[in-house]
């Protein structure tokens, strides 16, 4: 029996040695059309730092984030920066955000933060902003234009009128399957901002859009969903190479809609069931997606992790770092013009743990 795993704590030295031994860093560069636009960055997301009381936090979630940061620091070649994909906190409180920021402060690279609903719905992102900056912004890096959106907004009625307290609003949104929740949206204001931001960008410039929720509609029950996804996609349509990277779903997903390639990232905290595992509702997992292995609950880090991203000729190649399982790689196939898993895309190569029900 492997009960000891859940109590396993690794000291800094132990972790570094273990990680060095297991991190197959092979950022092998393939042939690229325009190598000036080739670089790497790391992506950490959904740590859900959860306050118990006083100085106590849920150990499991702390460990997930600590491990991701420590491993990320070992990346060679060094990533140009790190993206934090949202849901740093579980209930958006100051102790949670502070504790999360403290763990993140061990990260040796510049971090760009994205807002998650668990960070937002207590004080509407006010304290988060003090720590990490604006909710919506853009930046350019080596010829690629990056846009960060707060995609987890919802209607004014739900946000401002429905709940007697801010805490209740947070609790209602924090329950993934809570029927009192509300669909995410980017909203008109940010869509207008996005149009303006993109006016000055050449249509041949590769775009990377970073959002917390998928900017596509997958499963409404669990808010694997953005209500105005089509409108946002329409704004991105004139650009030749668009990549959307999102967190929130705590699992590997990828898709292609028109010119837009979508890649999700994993959580450091816990994995979520794939939508098809809920038999009582309809869902639309992109057919392109080969799911990750069903998690083994006896290894608490299984199906959690972080990823490093290679930007190659304006497209995203994602390598998923799973501490208790084999690395997965979803790369952009220029022949089929789609993101594809490098090992499992062929249906004949799928394995039993990828069957979710």
């Amino acid at each position: 029996m492997s009960f000891k795993f859940s109590r396993r704590e690794f000291g800094k030295a132990g972790l570094a040695a273990g990680a060095l031994a297991t991190l197959p860093i092979s950022l092998v560069r393939l042939a690229f059309a325009d190598s000036a636009q080739d670089f790497t960055f790391a992506y950490i997301s959904d740590s859900h730092i959860q306050h118990i009381k006083g100085k106590e936090f849920v150990r499991n979630w702390d460990q997930g984030l600590k491990r991701a940061v420590a491993e990320c620091n070992l990346l060679l070649p060094k990533p140009d920066f790190v993206i934090y994909g949202g849901d740093l906190a579980q209930l958006g409180t100051k102790p949670e955000l502070d504790h999360g920021a403290e763990i993140m402060s061990a990260c040796k690279h510049k971090v760009h933060y994205v807002m998650g609903e668990h960070d937002y719905y207590l004080d509407l992102g006010e304290y988060w902003s003090k720590l990490f900056g604006p909710h919506t912004y853009s930046f350019d890096h080596k010829g690629v234009h990056f846009v960060v959106l707060n995609s987890i907004l919802t209607t004014d009625e739900w946000t401002f009128k429905r709940w007697p307290t801010a805490k209740q609003r947070m609790d209602e949104m924090a329950g993934l399957d809570n029927p009192n929740g509300s669909p995410f949206m980017v909203g008109e204001k940010q869509r207008e901002w996005l149009k303006k931001d993109l006016e000055k960008v050449d249509k041949n410039t590769p775009l990377v859009v970073l959002s917390h929720s998928p900017l596509q509609k997958i499963f409404k029950n669990w808010n694997f969903w953005t209500d105005d996804a089509e409108q946002v996609q329409a704004i991105l349509k004139p650009f030749k190479k668009v990549n959307v990277l999102y967190g929130h779903v705590h699992q590997i997903q990828y898709n292609k809609i028109g010119n837009i390639a979508f890649n999700s990232v994993m959580a450091t905290a816990w994995p979520w069931p794939y939508p098809q595992s809920y038999a009582l509702a309809e869902s639309h997992l992109p057919v392109l997606t080969v799911p990750m292995n069903r998690a083994d609950p006896f290894f608490e880090r299984d199906a959690t992790g972080w990823q490093f991203i290679g930007m190659n000729s304006g497209r995203v190649n994602a390598t998923f770092q799973l501490p208790d399982n084999d690395t997965r790689k979803v790369a952009y196939n220029t022949k089929t013009d789609k993101p594809e898993d490098v090992s499992f895309q062929d249906p004949a190569k799928r394995i039993p743990p990828q069957n979710h029900y």
Binding site: S2, I52, L176, S277, L280
Partner: protein, 131 residues
């Protein structure tokens, strides 16, 4: 007196043992539904009784009970080295992610958790042993 009681009981038994009404069926369903509903509150950590010590809820990892697969039990769990029952895995998750203490298999709370988990799998066919 003794004779009257005995015959009354006999009459009562003979008229109830082999039949029940629509109202009975509705009432019994209602009993089940309310236990499943209590199970949902335990599952989401919104009941008064807490299953764990760290505030973590089953629903954080099993939204709508997904990935608990009650229809596959009993089944072999390689980490436990034997064919296990559903409640043993419930207790596994209570002890580990929730850092709590085992529930008794026949307790009100365990019954409620199972009632809730199966309610979310209505219509899914039984596949005992499936992995």
């Amino acid at each position: 007196m003794k004779w009257i009681l005995a015959s009354l009981m006999f009459a009562a038994l003979s008229s109830q043992a082999d039949t029940f009404s629509k109202e009975d069926v509705a009432r019994w369903q209602g009993e089940y539904d309310s236990v499943a509903k209590y199970g949902r509150t335990l599952w989401t950590n919104s009941a008064k009784i807490k299953l764990g010590t760290n505030g973590v809820a089953c629903a954080q990892c099993h939204p709508n009970g997904a990935n608990s697969h009650p229809e596959t039990y009993p089944k072999f769990q390689k980490q436990l080295g034997k064919v296990t029952q559903f409640w043993e895995m419930v207790n596994w998750c209570i002890r580990n992610p929730l850092q709590g203490k085992d529930l008794q298999p026949g307790s009100k709370e365990m019954t409620a958790l199972i009632a809730y988990a199966v309610s979310e799998r209505k219509g899914v066919k039984l596949e005992p042993g499936k992995h």
